[in-house]
Amino acid sequence: MTPFLQIENLSAVIRGTSDRLLRSVSLEVNSGEVCGLVGESGAGKSMIGKAVLGILPAAVEIAEGQVQLDDEDLLAMPQADRRRLIGAKAALIPQDPLTALNPSRRIGPQITDRLIDILGWTRRDAANRAAELLDEVHIDNPQRVLASYPHELSGGMRQRVLIASAFAANPKLVIADEPTTALDVTVQKQILRLIREMQERHGTAMLFVTHDLGVVSKVCQRLTVLFAGKVIEQADVADFYAGPRHGYSKALLAATPKFTEPFTSLMPVDRAVITAVTAEIEAADGAWHHG
C-alpha cells in the first residue's frame, strides 16, 4: 500500500536565493498513523506542514521535490485543483487557539462555514454536524458553545473547538502544528488524549509537529527529527526512546526535562554536537549545489 502522504526529496528556498530552509526532506505518513515531526525553532518543522497545505509564506518557494497526497502529485497540479483536493482531504489543527478563531464571530458559523461553502451542505445539516462534533470532543452543552464568542471560552475549550472543526469534513490527513504549546500541562494532557482518540476513531493519517520529545512519545508511532531543514533521524517511537542513533537526537533527548531522575543535570546540547551536525549538513549542501 502506498502511504497516504508521501513527501519526496522536498527542498524549499528563500525566494530568489539558494538558501535552503528544507533540505531534500523525504517522509511518509500512512492512514491511521501519527508521525511526529520534531525539531527546535528554525528546524523547518512547521514549514513541511505548510508546504503540504500550500500555505507557505510568500518569501518561501519550493525548489524541488514531490508531495503526493492520496497518489496525486500536489505540486504538479494547478493551484485551484490543489486547493480543492486539500480542502476535501486535509485539515490543520493550529498552534494558537486564540488567533486561529475570528474574535468577532460566534463559534457555530466558524465551524459550519467550510461545510456549507466548500462541501455544499445545507445549513441545517451543517449545524447538526457541528453540534455532533462538539459532543465528540467532549464539550458539554454544545449549543451554548456554538452560540459563544471565542473570548468567552478557555484556552483548552478553544483548542477543542479547533479540533472539532479540523475533523468536521472527515479529512484523511490532519496536520497538527504544535497544538498544545500554548496550554497548561493538565489541559495539554486532556487535549493530547482527545487528539489521539479522534485520530483513532476516524483512522486519519496525522503529521504531528512539536518541539517536545515528551509529547511525541505520547501520541506518535513514528517520528522524524529535523535540524536546519534536514532529516536527521527517522525511527519507530519505541526504538527511538530505547536509544536514538544520531548524535543530535541523543543530545536532544538528554536535554528534555525528566523530573523522575532527581538532581541529574539536564544535559545541554553542547557545541560539539551542533558543530558536527552543521558540518554534516554543509557537506550535503555542497553536493546539492554542485549536483
Binding site: 525566494r15 536565493t17 509564506p57 518569501a59
Partner: protein, 283 residues
C-alpha cells in the same frame, strides 16, 4: 526572513528619497523665492494674459508655466504660494505634534485623573465638526496666516493625543517598562527613556501626515477666501481663480493642483519612510 526585510528596506529607501527629494525642492524654492522666482508674483500684465506653459504652442519664453487671466506668472505664484503652505505646515504641524503628544503621553502613561480629564476633553473636542469649527474660528480670529495656524492647532491636537495615548498605553504594558521599574527609574525617566523612543516613530509618521493635512486645510481655507489677504498668492487661491477660467487657461488650475497633490503625497510617504528608518528591526 532575511530577504523579506531586504525588500522592505529597499522600498522604504526609494520612497524616502523620492518624497524627501520633492519636499527638499519645494522647501528650497520657497526659501529662495526672492532670488529664484522669474517674476514678481503680483505683477499684472494684461497684454501677456493667459499665456500657455512652455510645451504648448504660443508659449512665451520666460513664462515656464504660463500666465493667468491677469497676466501673472503661474510659476512665480506657485513658488510664493509654497512659502505660505510650508510655513503653515511646519509651524502648525510641529505645534500640534508637541501639544497632542505631550498630553497623549501623560494620559497614556500616568492614567488616573489626568487621563480621565484629557480623554473627556478629547471626546468633547472631537464631537465638533472640524470644518465648521475652523470657519467659526477664522470668523472670530479674522483672516491671516496666524489664524490658520491657530485653527489647525486647536482642531487637530486631538488626532495626536488619541493615537499617542493608545500607543503609550500599549508600550506601558511591555516588560521592558516593568524592568525599568525594577531597575529603580523614576516615572518621568521611564516615560522619557523607555516609552518616548518607542512612540517616536508613530509621532513622526503622524507629524508628516499632519503637515500634509495642514497644507490641504490652508488650501481649502484660501479656496473659500478665508486665508490670507486675497491678492497674496496661495495654492488654494490659485485653484479657486483657475476654476473660473478652466476652459480658456486650464494650466492656471492644473499646475498648482499637481504641486499641491505631490506635496501632500510626499509628506505622508516621507513619514512612512522615516518610520521604517526609525525601526531598529527593519533598519
Amino acid at each position: 526572513m532575511r530577504d523579506g526585510r531586504g525588500t522592505v528596506k529597499r522600498k522604504a529607501g526609494l520612497r524616502l528619497w523620492l518624497s524627501g527629494g520633492w519636499l527638499a525642492i519645494v522647501a528650497l524654492l520657497t526659501l529662495l523665492a526672492g532670488w529664484i522666482s522669474p517674476h514678481d508674483p503680483l505683477a499684472q500684465d494684461l497684454f501677456a494674459a493667459r499665456l500657455p506653459p512652455f510645451w504648448v504652442d504660443g508659449a512665451e519664453p520666460g513664462f515656464l508655466l504660463g500666465t493667468d487671466s491677469l497676466g501673472r506668472d503661474v510659476l512665480s505664484r506657485i513658488i510664493y504660494g509654497g512659502r505660505i503652505a510650508l510655513t503653515v505646515a511646519v509651524i502648525a504641524g510641529l505645534a500640534t505634534a508637541v501639544i497632542g503628544s505631550v498630553l497623549g503621553l501623560i494620559a497614556g502613561y500616568y492614567r488616573g485623573w489626568a487621563d480621565a480629564v484629557i480623554s473627556r476633553l478629547v471626546d468633547i473636542w472631537m464631537a465638533f465638526p472640524p470644518v465648521l469649527f475652523a470657519i467659526l474660528l477664522i470668523a472670530v480670529l479674522g483672516t491671516g496666516l496666524w489664524s490658520i495656524v491657530i485653527a489647525i492647532i486647536v482642531i487637530d491636537w486631538t488626532r495626536f493625543c488619541r493615537v499617542v495615548r493608545a500607543e503609550a498605553m500599549n508600550q506601558s504594558q511591555m516588560d521592558y517598562v516593568s524592568s525599568a521599574v525594577v531597575a529603580g527609574h523614576v516615572r518621568a525617566a521611564i516615560l522619557w527613556r523607555e516609552i518616548g523612543p518607542n512612540v517616536l516613530p508613530t509621532i513622526v509618521a503622524l507629524l508628516t501626515l499632519e503637515m500634509g493635512i495642514a497644507v490641504i486645510v490652508e488650501a481649502i481655507l484660501s479656496f473659500v477666501n478665508l486665508s490670507i489677504s486675497t491678492d497674496a498668492p496661495t495654492w488654494g487661491g490659485m485653484i479657486a481663480e483657475g476654476r473660473i477660467s478652466i476652459h480658456q487657461a486650464w494650466w492656471v488650475l492644473v499646475c498648482p493642483l499637481i504641486v499641491l497633490f505631490l506635496t501632500v503625497l510626499a509628506f505622508s510617504q516621507f513619514g512612512e519612510g522615516l518610520k521604517d528608518r526609525f525601526d531598529p528591526v527593519l533598519r
